[in-house]
């Protein structure tokens, strides 16, 4: 059984990003791609305990980011005319 962390080789297997909780640089696409990568790594069973926990923490932060994006495009259609938008932005 694997109880120790295996060092991951850069470029071969995805490890937790250096700042696992900082997902602000992600777009929805890169976030979902990273989540899929994390789940593939976890499914492989090769991640040690420390790496697993780091990946889960990073994945949850990314899920929250994606959920916010989905909420923004799913809370209800808002139709504006261009001049209304300009007025709102200027106001």
């Amino acid at each position: 059984m694997d109880t120790a962390d295996h060092p991951t080789q850069p470029g071969t297997v995805p490890g937790p990003s250096p700042q696992a909780d900082d997902v602000s640089g992600h777009t929805y696409e890169t976030a979902t791609a990273r989540i899929e990568e994390i789940i593939r790594r976890l499914d492989s069973g090769e991640a040690g305990l420390r790496e697993t926990l780091d990946l889960c923490r990073e994945g949850k932060a990314l899920v929250e980011l994606c959920a916010a994006e989905l909420d923004a495009v799913g809370r209800g259609l808002e139709e504006l005319r261009l001049d209304e938008l300009v007025a709102r932005l200027e106001g």
Binding site: T3, T52, L70, V73, L77, E78, R81
Partner: protein, 465 residues
């Protein structure tokens, strides 16, 4: 059943014009007058070619004017005009004359130039101009920048440039609804057909991009001929779109028409519905479900990472006790086996010793018996030895006497005693031939009572054997 003719109405009071006359009569008269006009040849660009089972319709255009044209289908086919044979804008020469369909109460009238002959003269000027402009835009590198812009799969805000009325608007809403998208939609309405359209569309695009509040812009117009879509081939509009920092999705006309906007835009779609789907590439509901599944998977992994390891540690912590128990049982088993083996060994040894003692006893008895037999034999031999010397001496004496008698029989002395003599040389060796006697010269004669010397004389009569 013929309807009663309506009474002729009174004319317009104060009008100096004659009449009123029935319109049908006037329409028939107009057709007759038009048909009297000279038949001739015209040239221009053929646009909006449409085929029906019996007629072929198109418009003949140039920069200064246009004329609706009609042909009988069989005339068209005789001239090589078949569906797909003529692209919009093709340069043609037509022969014919003006005609007029007077219509009726249930049919619309129509004016047309009745074409009986047609020759294709080449690609139209307009298409050639568009091709040249497309090459210029390409050479300036303006066909690529939009395509290099990143497009979000789920844009939060979408700008739309289209006509305020028309089907394109509804189609875009339907396409967005099909994706489950319900974000912010910013409408920038503009005319999409006539000479004012291109500047207004250009301005709308610039304004939308300037707000910085939209992630993607759709430019949409319903179907139409390429002539109707010429505003989307405007050079200024195309150069503006090419340099816009927001990706533009073009949906202008149908897939058979390709404007220059389609070339410079990030994406070109055949319908506004497709444009909406290209703007939102993921289905929001499906994405939400996938995200839920991903979140559940992450939770499961996080839980299992700890619980599985806890179970493993618990298993490991019980292992030493299990190992000691197992070793103790193994040692006890060994002990039992050793004891059993020792018992077996002792029994075997006892049996072996007993068997050896029996063998030794038997051997001792045999030795005693042998010793007794040997004693008896010795005694018998002693007795025999004790008796043996007398008999043996007698036997030897008898054998000696026999030998002495035999020797005596062969003794030469006995022969000498009977009167014979033995001739010997000086060394006492017998001389057994006359030649030896002559050679020796002197010999001794041995008689029974002693020796006598003799000399051998040569005998003249004697002959050598």
């Amino acid at each position: 059943m013929a309807a009663d003719p309506a009474p002729v109405p009174a004319g317009i009071p104060g009008s100096a014009l004659p009449g009123p006359w029935p319109v049908g009569a006037y329409a028939a008269k107009l057709r007759a007058e038009l048909r009297k006009r000279a038949r001739l040849q015209l040239f221009g660009e053929a646009w909006n070619l449409r085929f029906t089972p019996v007629r072929v319709w198109f418009e003949l255009r140039d920069a200064d004017g246009a004329l609706p044209c009609a042909m009988w289908r069989e005339d068209a086919e005789r001239c090589g005009v078949r569906p797909g044979a003529l692209a919009d804008g093709a340069r043609v020469v037509v022969g014919g004359g003006p005609d007029y369909y007077p219509g009726s109460r249930t049919a619309s009238p129509a004016f047309s130039f009745h074409v009986t002959e047609l020759r294709v003269a080449g690609e139209g000027d307009l298409l050639a101009q568009l091709a040249r402009l497309r090459r210029v835009l390409d050479a300036d590198g303006l066909l690529a920048p939009q395509k290099a812009l990143p497009r979000p799969a789920l844009p939060r805000a979408i700008g739309v440039v289209c006509a305020e009325t028309g089907k394109a608007r509804d189609d875009i809403l339907a396409g967005l609804a099909r994706r489950g998208w319900a974000g912010r939609l910013v409408w920038a309405f503009a005319p999409v057909q006539d000479r004012h359209a291109a500047p207004r569309i250009t301005r709308a695009l610039q304004d939308l991009a300037a707000t910085g509040a939209v992630d993607v812009i759709i430019v949409a117009r319903g179907g139409g001929s390429l002539a109707d879509l010429l505003c989307f081939c405007d050079e200024t509009l195309c150069r503006t779109v090419a340099m816009l920092p927001v990706p533009v999705i073009a949906s202008v006309g149908h897939h058979t028409d390709r404007t220059l906007l389609d070339d410079v835009a990030a994406v070109s779609c055949s319908t506004p519905t497709h444009a909406a789907e290209a703007a939102v590439t993921r289905h929001v509901g499906e994405s939400r479900a996938a995200l839920r599944a991903a979140a559940a998977s992450l939770d499961r992994h996080a839980r299992r990472a700890i619980v599985d390891r806890a179970h493993a540690l618990a298993r490991l912590s019980g292992a030493p006790g299990r190992y000691v128990r197992r070793e103790r049982e193994r040692l006890h088993q060994r002990l039992r086996e050793l004891r059993a083996a020792a018992r077996r060994r002792a029994g075997d040894e006892r049996t072996h010793v007993r068997r050896a003692a029996t063998v030794l006893a038997r051997k001792a008895q045999a030795a005693r018996t042998a010793r007794a037999a040997e004693g008896a034999a010795l005694r018998r031999r002693a007795e025999a030895l004790h008796r043996a010397p007398g008999e043996a001496a007698r036997d030897r004496r008898r054998r000696l006497e026999a030998l002495a008698a035999a020797l005596t029989a062969h003794d030469p002395q006995r022969t000498l005693e009977r009167g014979y003599a033995l001739v010997e040389d000086a060394a006492g060796r017998p001389v057994t031939s006359a030649a030896a006697a002559r050679a020796a010269g002197s010999v001794a004669l041995r008689f029974a009572d002693g020796r006598a010397a003799a000399c051998v004389r040569p005998d003249p009569d004697a002959t050598e054997p």
